[in-house]
């Protein structure tokens, strides 16, 4: 079970790293889990939405955007690592993510 989770995290991490490298025109080697999306990459909040759409398609997720929005308000994402962790939770819990609080 732990191995599956680790593999999935790696898969998500690769997608997220590639996405930010492409959109922010930086080398993927410059991105780590500690990278701050706004301060270090000059990223924007829209990127988060675009990534959600990518993952919704990839994993056939049923989660509503407003549910993610409610969760994100209580758990703000600043770094790439935090974004990946939240994505893991979304995939695992979908609309039940709010019950985690």
């Amino acid at each position: 079970m732990a191995q599956i989770a680790e593999n999935r995290r790696k898969e998500i991490q690769e997608i997220v790293y590639d996405f930010f490298a492409d959109e922010c025109e930086v080398d993927v080697s410059e991105i780590s889990d500690q990278t701050n999306i706004i301060k270090d990459l000059d990223g924007d909040s829209l990127m988060f939405l675009e990534l959600i759409e990518i993952f919704k398609k990839k994993y056939s997720l049923e989660i509503e955007l407003k549910t993610i929005g409610k969760y994100a308000v209580k758990h703000p994402v600043e770094t790439i690592g935090q974004l990946i962790d939240m994505q893991m939770l979304i995939i695992e819990h979908e609309n039940r993510i709010l019950e985690l609080d």
């Binding site: 959109e23 922010c24 025109e25 924007d44």
Partner: protein, 404 residues
């Protein structure tokens, strides 16, 4: 007593080039930027010519704007950002040394150009590409400026109104520096059809470079141009503190509404004359001090006739002694950008003591008998110059620039 408002930087993109120096040298040489439309297939349109920004712009702007942001902008907004960054560089401004709460952005925007020529519009970027405050917002974001930041739409006078508004912010001590500009392109199938339906555009497609002929007997409408112009307005105190080069003073302005017709100007140019008079009154400059007028000069029957009559009304016998030229003879009509693009040309005329010509004046209209600086530029000391902008809906603006 508030201090002077001065110009410390300029940036311009047009059919005559992608930078200030190239534009100026082409304007002084009397070069036409008008050619056949390449942005879309215009073969079925009545008008098939326009002044397009060179195709090299697409690569040029990659040096200025990151891919991510560029994807949220129209081509017109990108033009604005490039011109703004050039103007800031030209002014030598380091915003880290300025009070950013006193640095503003005002853009004259008729529309952002999110038309059928924009091939990459998606549901995700359509709002950003369409919002009329996008240009001023992006400029402000780029430099993290926190002074007032907004867009003004008064049709073809939009960016002239933006300059007037920037002047007020500085004079009223609301800002030390204002990035003022405009960008526009209506080179798309639907808008050309619309203006053709109003009989406003020239249909003399061959040869394209001869079509825009303000004040000529055979003029038949305006030619569409596109581009961006951005001016750095600054308080004299701030400019001196920074050791900036001052290119001219914006001495004042006149704004008015004709309240007359959605398209046609008031008969005999009464509204235009009122606006010029108002501008001169705001500065205390006397009629005989005016050395040059950069005319609105659209190459339409009514504008050129009425603008000539208006100048005669205002200046009386003096009118025949003042050189008047239309930059639109070379650039076409850049609509929302025209106020600042022509403002820049007026400022450079003062700075270089050189008046750019009205080209294509091969057959002067016998009724229009002022000095339109035909065909070739002219060296002459220019201390005070007016720049006229008149928009559909009766939005009039006259800016007064003075040598510093």
């Amino acid at each position: 007593m508030a201090g002077k408002v001065v110009v410390t930087g300029m940036g311009i993109l047009s059919s005559l080039g992608l930078d200030l120096d190239t534009n100026w040298s082409n304007l002084v040489a009397g070069t036409s930027g008008i050619g056949y439309i390449t942005l879309f297939d215009a073969s079925e349109n009545q008008t098939r010519i326009a002044g397009e920004v060179p195709a090299a712009f697409e690569d040029h702007c990659k040096k200025y704007i990151k891919k991510r942001a560029a994807g949220q902008m129209t081509r017109v907004t990108r033009m604005c950002i490039v011109a703004a960054k050039d103007a800031v560089t030209h002014a030598g401004v380091d915003f880290e040394q300025m009070d950013k709460t006193r640095c503003s952005v005002i853009m004259g925007v008729v529309n952002t150009g999110n038309s059928s020529v924009e091939s990459d519009t998606t549901p995700q970027n359509t709002v950003f590409k369409s919002m009329s405050n996008a240009m001023s917002a992006w400029v402000s974001l780029d430099y993290q400026l926190m002074g007032p930041n907004y867009a003004i739409n008064t049709a073809c006078a939009s960016s002239a109104y933006a300059l007037a508004s920037g002047y007020d912010l500085i004079r009223n001590n609301q800002a030390d520096l204002v990035i003022v500009g405009g960008a526009d392109s209506i080179i798309n199938k639907e808008e050309i059809e619309g203006f053709n339906a109003l009989y406003a555009l020239s249909v003399q497609n061959d040869p394209p470079e001869k079509a825009s002929k303000p004040f000529a007997a055979d003029r038949d409408g305006f030619v569409i141009g596109e581009g961006a112009g951005v001016i750095i307005l600054e308080s004299e105190e701030s400019a001196i503190r920074r050791g900036a080069t001052i290119y001219s003073e914006l001495a004042g302005y006149g704004l008015s509404s004709e309240g007359y017709n959605i398209m046609a100007p008031m008969k005999d140019g009464e509204g235009m004359a009122f606006t010029m008079n108002k501008a001169l009154l705001s500065t205390g400059i006397s009629l005989d001090e005016v050395d040059y007028i950069n005319a609105h000069g659209t190459s339409t029957e009514l504008n050129d006739r009425y603008e000539t009559l208006a100048i005669k009304q205002v200046f009386g016998e003096q009118a025949g002694k003042i050189p008047i030229s239309s930059s639109k003879s070379m650039l076409g009509h850049t609509i929302g950008a025209a106020g600042t693009i022509e403002g820049i040309i007026t400022i450079l005329s003062i700075y270089h003591n050189t008046i750019t010509p009205t080209i294509n004046l091969d057959h002067p209209d016998p009724d229009l008998d002022l000095d339109y600086v035909p065909q070739t530029s002219r060296k002459r000391e220019v201390c005070v110059a007016l720049s006229n902008s008149f928009g559909f809906g009766g939005h009039n603006a006259t800016l007064v620039f003075r040598k510093y």
